[in-house]
């Protein structure tokens, strides 16, 4: 399929604002000697840093014995021990994390420098003649003043809009540099450089005396910068707003899928876009929810031994496996029956536990009541014990704890909710006057992944796997996938259909009706 070569721990940064291409190429060249293949197909999107154990890795916490699993799964077993794959992750982290922090800001820093340089240039054009040969300059009256004002205003607009549009902290580190941004930065650089060149040759050398011409020259530079900024606005911001493609995102482990409409983006930008939506739309990945219980699957493949009477056994391997599968299919098995009844039993159990939980929570909530200000003053004869939300939460948590724990265990969510988090949530709900149903919505259905993220600045690590270069634009039939350690998201691109809208005018007076009669008269 796609030849995946992990790009040896190096990741490119996204440059939200301009950074010079020369700098990048130097680094790219130095690192490419290390990697074996020049044309690598899989590169890392490294959102900066990564926690040691983030919430999405598999946790083999208490497996419910009802499923009868006998496989041993090598996973991170608890917060305090590290398994094999964590070790590899840690080692990768150590070699990348430290330079990562600095690399994140190189792009914006370079862009900032370039824009600063570009913005100072017109001022330099104006000031240098004044400083160097002030006496020889021709005086320039009202037209110059008008030009000064317009120049100042345009520079202010440029400054504010560059700050608003381009100087934002990047939220994702992309594997390849952003083609449009780099093009624009190169354009700006060449532009300003050529202006300086002409300035040096035509103005500084011969000590030009026509000051008005110089001011007009500076004004033309600022105009051109404004137009480049307009171009940047269109290319970077506006072009991808109008929807042109439909992306289908499917998660490989449980088939959860969504459709999104995007505009014209490159593959890496589309990947970042999809990941943004993934965190808030997709239900959280729960590795404990399996498709078929192992007890059913394991029964199918037992009891068959294939003896081959043929001499050349090398060619017979596919024949053997096919024979086994065919024999297993022909054998009359009732595993679908078992699956059906197992499912029904599971549903019933979940519903029963849910009913118990709901009742317990409702009862618990009736025990506390919000104390209003006037009540405290007006009833001195019944001194109630006044508590703050935390204590109130702890007080009513006890009766519902058991029902909650049983429910979470049945729906296999116990890994996501610790007792501390439940208490915190309870305290939150009490503070905001929520009903028991509002308190329970967090536990009755698996929420989006964002709900379970701990806030830390290290970021999430995803790998973009694609057969096309990741800076190519989206087009029909493109497939790429975003991989994490235990699951991946497969994204398929289809263009949105062209719509032919016709018109039909209906006269409002043309709505007329008749009654359908069917009378029968006896004569």
């Amino acid at each position: 399929m796609d030849n995946e070569s992990q790009y040896s721990g190096y990741s490119y940064k996204s440059s939200h604002s301009r950074s010079s291409r020369k700098h990048r190429e130097r680094r790219h060249r130095s690192k490419s000697r290390d990697s074996s293949s020049r044309a690598d197909k899989s590169v890392t999107i490294q959102t900066p840093g990564e926690p040691l154990l983030d919430a999405e890795s598999t946790r083999g916490d208490e497996r419910d014995d009802n499923w009868g699993e006998t496989t041993t799964v090598v996973t991170g077993t608890s917060e305090h021990s590290i398994s094999n794959e964590d070790l590899t992750r840690v080692s990768k982290d150590l070699e990348e994390s430290i330079p990562l922090e600095c690399k994140r800001f190189v792009g914006p820093a370079l862009g900032g420098c370039l824009s600063f340089f570009a913005l100072l240039t017109p001022l330099a054009f104006l000031i240098l003649p004044q400083v160097l040969w002030r006496d020889a300059l021709e005086p320039c009256g009202t037209p110059c003043e008008g030009l000064y004002v317009s120049l100042a205003f345009k520079l202010l607009v440029l400054l504010i809009s560059s700050w608003a549009l381009f100087l934002r902290p990047p939220r994702a580190a992309l594997p390849r540099f952003f083609v449009f941004r780099c093009l624009l930065m190169v354009l700006v650089f060449l532009f300003v450089a050529s202006y300086w060149l002409f300035y040096g040759v035509r103005v500084l050398e011969p000590r030009e005396r026509d000051y008005r011409g110089i001011v007009e020259y500076a004004a033309s530079l600022v105009d051109a910068l404004l137009f480049i900024q307009y171009l940047a606005l269109v290319l970077l911001e506006v072009r991808h707003l109008q929807p042109a493609f439909c992306l289908k995102v499917v998660r490989t482990t449980d088939g959860a899928s969504k459709f999104y409409n995007v505009g014209h983006l490159s593959v890496q930008r589309a990947a970042v876009w999809v990941l943004d939506r993934y965190y808030s739309d997709f239900p959280v990945y729960n590795p404990a929810v399996l498709n078929l219980p192992k007890s059913i699957l394991s029964k199918k493949m037992t009891g068959f031994k294939v003896y081959s009477l043929d001499e050349n056994t090398a060619n017979n391997s596919t024949g053997q496996s096919r024979a086994m599968i065919a024999a297993a299919a022909r054998r009359r098995d009732n595993s679908h029956n078992e699956y059906y009844y197992e499912e029904a039993e599971m549903d019933r159990r979940i519903r029963k536990r849910k009913a118990r939980l709901v009742v317990a929570v409702e009862e618990a909530f009736t025990h506390i009541k919000r104390l209003h200000e006037d009540e405290a003053a007006s009833s001195p004869k019944h001194p109630k014990e006044v508590m703050d939300p935390r204590e109130a939460a702890q007080a009513i948590f006890a009766p519902m704890a058991r029902a909650m724990q049983k429910y979470l265990r049945t729906t296999r969510q116990q890994a996501f909710h610790s007792m501390e988090s439940i208490l915190t949530h309870l305290q939150f709900c009490i503070t905001h006057n929520m009903t028991p149903k509002a308190f329970l919505e967090r536990y009755l259905s698996p929420g989006p992944t964002m709900q379970y993220q701990q806030q830390n600045g290290r970021g999430r690590q995803w790998t973009l796997v694609s057969e096309e270069p990741v800076t190519s634009a989206l087009r029909q039939g493109l497939v790429f996938s975003l991989r994490r350690l235990d699951f991946s998201l497969v994204v398929t691109v289809t263009p949105l259909p062209f719509l032919r809208l016709g018109e039909e005018f209906i006269d409002p007076k043309s709505h007329k009706f008749v009654i359908r009669l069917q009378s029968e008269t006896s004569v």
Binding site: L517, Q518, S519, T521, S522, V523
Partner: protein, 128 residues
């Protein structure tokens, strides 16, 4: 029994003569009619062509005058006492049938079995 608009209607008809019976203060004939040019022809269970808006016999009270005269359910009434029944409204048909000063109505009715019988005899005749 279907017709082509613009062409004269041809049908094999049977002459049925019904004597009205005085019952309950009225002169009744003992059957019910349905259809008419103001009615919905698609709901007629007896017509072959669902756009036929003629008058059909929908019910015959057993033992009544129509039953004794030989009127059958599903018959299409073409004429009543000389008045045409193929292009009338339901109410007009009813009026023509329940004229108080007539004690006998002479109907021309057609049904599928008549057509079939004639076709059969014609075919048999042609084979001779």
């Amino acid at each position: 029994m279907s017709f082509i608009p613009g062409q004269p209607v041809t049908a094999v008809v049977e002459r049925v003569e019904i004597k009205k019976l005085f019952q309950g203060g009225n002169l009744i004939l003992g059957f019910s009619i349905g259809g008419g040019i103001d009615q919905d022809p698609g709901q007629n269970p007896y017509s072959e062509d669902k756009s036929d808006k003629g008058i059909y016999v929908t019910r015959i009270s057993p033992g009544g005058p129509a039953d004794e005269a030989g009127l059958k359910m599903g018959d299409k009434i073409m004429q009543v006492n000389g008045w045409d029944m193929t292009m009338v409204t339901h109410d007009q048909a009813r009026k023509k049938l329940t004229k108080k000063n007539e004690s006998v109505v002479r109907l021309l009715v057609t049904r599928r079995s008549l057509e079939d019988a004639v076709k059969q005899s014609k075919g048999g005749y042609a084979q001779q």
